[in-house]
């Protein structure tokens, strides 16, 4: 990703492209400006600005209820934005939803395959609905099934498939009509690690083979690491955007994780004696320092509290999230507001689980 050098953290600042140039010719396949979505009194998305480059794997990372699914639904023309603009593959999602639909592929959070039909039939109907030329249909269907390793199950009814197979079939379906962008909403949720790795393998192959831009949401930090660039979203706002390395550099240096006899006292001591902020996280204290190897001996010597364990590691995206929001991404139930928002959205969106 050669053009990442200019990527900066966007926080409350409008992105650089003026509205007039939102025609998709800038090399950005998705452009979002000031996107807001309200469900009744609840503001699920509160002014998002975003550019996704052509051909990249873009991750949309955040806890449940942060506004990921709402944003992706707006970009896929399933939900109308309250205000703001979004241009996908050169077409405005509000004014030309039909054109957007023809140019994107979708993999939903909940499987949307027809269980009564076979894998091949599901792809056949998709090809028909997206106007894939008749003479190309058989070859494309075969290639798509091969790509996701389902060629031998082409004529089995989908009802006999495992969760991982269904997800792979959905990916095959999503790229069958050669979309410019493939959207995936939590593509690996509920899958075991092995299956998840396989889904990723197929996603990378899709990008390799077709150059399709991949836009995905996830709340798995490990997955976000595999994206070219990620945006971290929290409470309906983007709090950080860049390559995983850029974001990790923001944490700077190393992360020292300690457990002590008295974490509260230790935190105060660390702050007083070393001028570093210690964040409590799941029974441990985390301190961001420039050089971990140098800091640890000083820390052990300098604390009056008993130090039980010390770990030094490179910062992860978890740390980035923790630093930006003051809480870990897995603390989904900590925030009553987010839970409330999510509940309201579910109600508004109807039967989604």
């Amino acid at each position: 990703m050669d053009r990442d050098g200019d990527e900066l953290i966007l926080r409350g600042r409008a992105a650089t492209t003026p509205l007039a140039e939102l025609d998709g010719s800038s090399g950005d396949v998705i452009t979002v400006r000031g996107l807001v979505k309200r469900y009744g009194p609840v503001e699920a998305v509160r002014g998002i600005n975003l550019d996704v480059h052509r051909g990249e794997i873009f991750g949309f990372l955040g806890p449940n209820g942060a506004g990921k699914s709402t944003t992706i639904s707006v970009l896929c023309t399933l939900v109308e934005a309250t205000s703001g603009r979004a241009v996908v593959a050169g077409c405005d999602v509000d004014r030309h939803p039909q054109q957007v639909r023809a140019r994107i592929g979708l993999v939903f959070q909940d499987p949307s395959l027809d269980n009564q039909l076979t894998a091949r039939e599901n792809l056949f109907f998709h090809a028909l609905a997206y106007g894939v030329p008749r003479q190309e249909r058989p070859a494309r269907i075969r290639a798509a099934l091969e790509m996701v390793g389902l060629a031998d199950r082409a004529d089995s009814q989908v009802i006999t498939f495992s969760g991982g197979m269904k997800r792979r079939l959905e990916i095959a379906r999503g790229v069958l009509h050669y979309p410019e962008v493939l959207f995936l909403d939590e593509p690996t949720i509920g899958l075991d690690p092995q299956t998840r790795a396989r889904v990723w393998e197929h996603l990378r192959e899709v990008r390799q083979r077709t150059g399709t831009t991949i836009f995905m949401t996830t709340h798995y930090m490990e997955e976000a690491e595999w994206c070219d660039r990620i945006a971290i979203i929290d409470h309906g706002r983007i709090v950080a955007l860049g390559t995983p390395d850029q974001l990790k550099d923001r944490v700077g240096g190393d992360v020292v994780v300690v457990t002590t006899g008295d974490n509260v006292r230790a935190a105060t001591e660390i702050e007083e004696r070393f001028g570093a902020r210690a964040i409590a996280d799941d029974g441990t204290l985390r301190v961001d320092v420039t050089d971990g190897a140098e800091f640890v001996p000083k820390l052990v010597k300098g604390l009056d509290v008993e130090v039980r364990t010390v770990t030094v590691r490179r910062p992860s995206l978890d740390d980035v999230f923790l630093k930006l929001t003051g809480r870990a991404i897995r603390d989904e139930d900590v925030d009553a507001g987010a839970a409330m928002r999510q509940m309201m959205m579910r109600r508004w969106q109807g039967g989604r689980r």
């Binding site: 023309t77 023809a102 949307s112 039909l117 609905a129 083979r209 150059g211």
Partner: protein, 297 residues
């Protein structure tokens, strides 16, 4: 589009398939065909559902038909040559169509719950094509169900003629299309299967009972006569019964005595008007169905 393609990385372009044309248009007809064909494949594969849809009409035919024929003393109140079970037979054919249509339309709720509707709704096809395709799919299924019921005609003693059946098929299809469209208009506003029972009890059953499918519409109290004339199914049962019976050699006098043809204020509606009413209702509810499917959050 060419400027856009040019910005792809060299590696991506080398591996990329031929760039898709800028405007792939899926024609209305093709979109309708997709939805219709899918419905029919599912219908064929899920034969249990077909048996389920036929079971209730058969039960009505056997239990009510035989039971009431005996209770009414072999159908003495009907003109000579017509038993109750024969009278109700066209009504039961209509009942099959009614139930198959509504069941098939209800699958839209099922699809919503299992996500498939989303796949269709994000495809670059017109929502109106989704509604029309679905209505045609349901209508085809219901027509097949109705025609299958004709197997019982010889058993209950209704004589079938080629002309009668040929006249019947388009009638059943139109009737089924209208009912499926009605079902879709309701189903696309429903979020879960729980509402289904409500639809069954407060819509399907009254529509069936008030249509003249199960008893003659002649000689009813005035208030009930008025209600039956507001039931769209009335205008479907009447042509179906007339088509079956007149081709089976029943005289117009007999047809008149059993109130086979609907009359309003002494004016007997000709077949074309019955069909016209069914089509008009169908077109109206189809409009509602399209509107419901077009709604975005």
């Amino acid at each position: 589009m060419s400027t856009v393609t040019a910005t792809r990385t060299a590696e991506a372009v080398a591996l990329a398939p031929a760039p898709r044309p800028a405007h792939v248009r899926v024609s209305f007809t093709q979109a309708v065909y997709v939805i219709w064909l899918r419905d029919l494949i599912r219908f064929y594969r899920d034969r249990a559902r077909l048996i389920g849809a036929l079971a209730q009409p058969v039960l009505f035919l056997v239990v009510f038909g035989v039971g009431l024929s005996s209770a009414l003393g072999g159908g003495r109140i009907f003109p000579p040559g017509l038993t109750y079970i024969q009278f109700m037979f066209p009504g039961v054919v209509c009942m099959t169509v009614l139930m198959t249509s509504i069941f098939s339309a209800m699958s839209i709720v099922w699809d919503r719950e299992f996500g498939f509707l989303r796949e269709i709704l994000v495809a670059p096809i017109e929502r109106s094509a989704v509604a029309v395709g679905k209505a045609l799919g349901g209508a085809t299924q219901a027509m097949v169900g109705g025609v299958l019921m004709l197997i019982f005609a010889p058993i209950v003693g209704v004589r079938l003629t080629v002309l009668g059946v040929l006249e019947l098929i388009p009638l059943l299809f139109l009737f089924a299309f209208t009912l499926t469209a009605l079902g879709i208009a309701i189903a696309s506003r429903m979020k879960s299967m729980q509402g289904f029972q409500v639809v069954m009890n407060f819509l399907m059953m009254p529509m069936l009972f008030l249509s003249g499918a199960l008893f003659p519409l002649a000689g009813l109290p005035d208030w009930m006569t008025v209600i039956t004339r507001f039931d769209p199914v009335t205008y479907a049962v009447s042509p179906v019964r007339t088509a079956l019976f007149s081709n089976a050699g029943l005289s117009p006098a007999v047809l008149d005595r059993i109130g086979a043809e609907v009359s309003i204020g002494g004016y007997t509606l000709p077949l074309i008007l019955d069909v016209g009413i069914v089509v008009a209702v169908g077109a109206t509810v189809l409009g509602f169905a399209i509107r419901a499917l077009q709604a975005r959050d």
